[in-house]
């Protein structure tokens, strides 16, 4: 069985940040990236499904930065990686991303396509279903406990409020893997060295649809809505304050 796993680099931003002059991206000095959490779970799931027999191929759409995510996945043990070249503007639309990734699906003809449930930085939860439609595959979202007999995929789908449902689809199919679905393995130092040197094929997508969504402006935002009062002092002061807040309502 051949599993194609879509991976992306998730960005973490510092609390103070600045934007690029055109205001459509965060200045690179204020971000750091790593392999998206749910994608680590997807790669782990793929490695487990192919443990006896099969191949795990990674694909990421984007510029050079996408290769970092691919190398992190190769370090975990994936066999091959390819990058579909996409510009930042094209990445803003999950439809364009899906159209680009679907060309990798057409080339590779995998038995199963996995994506993460969400990119943890922007949390759209949409690339998987968009790709399933673009590649004309049946799909299931927010799944864990994946199992396959080579012809069908069985998995547990999660819903709000702790409800879950067992679902089955015929392969080829696509599934979006839930964060925390498994314990992703780390590669060894040797794996990391191998991944660093690995050849990453670059695919230039053709006939991409015009992005229908354009990111026009980013601005810094005050998260939340409450005004926090910080407790000064050490753990003893913090404990005393928590106790007094609790006792007040009891």
């Amino acid at each position: 069985m051949k599993v194609l796993v879509c991976v992306t680099q998730a960005l973490e931003v510092s609390s103070y940040l600045e934007f690029t002059p055109d205001g459509t991206a965060i200045d690179a000095a204020f971000v750091s990236g790593s392999l998206n959490e749910a994608d680590q779970n997807a790669v782990e799931e793929a490695l487990a499904l192919t443990a006896d027999d099969g191949e795990v191929v990674l694909v990421s759409a984007g510029g050079d930065e996408a290769e970092e995510a691919l190398r992190a996945g190769l370090t975990m043990g994936a066999h091959r990686a390819l990058r579909v070249a996409l510009s930042p503007a094209e990445l803003a639309d999950s439809r364009t991303v899906a159209a680009a990734l679907s060309q990798a699906v057409a080339d590779e003809q995998p038995t199963l396509v996995l994506t993460g449930v969400q990119a943890s930085d922007t949390g759209g939860q949409s690339t998987g279903p968009a790709l399933a439609a673009a590649a004309d595959l049946p799909w299931a979202t927010v799944v864990r406990s994946l199992a396959s007999d080579g012809r069908t995929l069985t998995a547990r789908r999660e819903f709000e409020g702790g409800v879950s449902e067992l679902v089955q689809v015929d392969l080829p199919a696509l599934a979006t893997v839930q964060v925390g679905a498994n314990q992703p393995r780390y590669g060894t130092f040797k794996d990391k060295m191998r991944a660093k040197k690995a050849e990453i094929a670059v695919l230039t997508p053709v006939d991409l649809p015009t992005p229908r969504v354009v990111l026009t402006r980013m601005s810094a935002n005050q998260a939340g809505g409450r005004t926090v009062q910080m407790v000064q002092g050490g753990p003893a002061e913090v404990a005393a304050r928590i106790l007094s807040i609790v006792r007040e309502v009891q």
């Binding site: 439609a133 999660e158 089955q168 026009t216 304050r241 609790v246 009891q250």
Partner: protein, 312 residues
Amino acid sequence: MTRLLVVAEIVDGAVSPLTAEAVSAAASLGGDVILAVVGPDAGALAAQAAPAGVTEVVTVTAPGTDRDHEQMLHAVAALVADVAPEVVVAGFTIRSTAWAAALAERLDLAFVPDVVSLTAAGGEVTAERSIYDGRVRAEYAFPTGRPVVALVRAGSWPPAEPAAAAATRALEVDLPPSRVRAGELTRPSGDVDLTGSDVIFAVGRGVGSEENIAAFADIARRLGAGLGASRPIIDAGWLPAVHQVGQTGVTVKPKVYVALGISGALHHLAGMQHSKTIVAVNTNEDAPIFGYADVGAVADIHEVAEQLQALL
């Protein structure tokens, strides 16, 4: 705008509360708001499902469960063809994200998830999202003029008030069978009910290890408080699922919620942000949870736990 299609979300045979928020979001754009209700009992549901501001209700009778995303995709595609809306609005949920982006792909529509603000000026729609743990606000435009599918975040619009049922008509749709076969459905069960607790102490990944949970369980017990947890604690098997607070766990509204070593991810906030008083303890002064807390402390939760135990 002239025509807005709101897709009702059905959960366990009832229209979800988020649907009234989606109606508000659509109505704020100006124009006729058409509410779509899809399901086995769409007709019966339509009688109850008309928040104020809805011009017309269109029902599609569909045999599958409310979790059948392929059926939803086909039904909404038919609704879009019938209604010809400029904007399609639904809540941002696990059910809707399963079909909405696929629908946009099939029908060549613009798509934007997790929207917190929508405006229409001179026929142009603009959407805003809150990303990077709420640190960045991003604005989106839709230059191709294709209809926009927008999924709206819970709590971003006030729910439209209930009103008398609006004019209703049924749309006949030929639905192909779904390729996803559904099996056993599991619901949470257990003897812990966090929704009844006035005070909740909740631990997150910052707790570090399974052994470390005992101290927090002990503090919660001695204070008569409930013990909550973020999802990684349940995924690791350190606590049973009934303790999980958040989108895929329980939603709680205690008088006091103490978040210990929890970063404040959107999915966790979904389950506790309406608590009366929120206290957060985290070693990272940049943790997003502080933006949602009333009282915060940059401290190690283990040291705080030791002090709490000493005081009790």
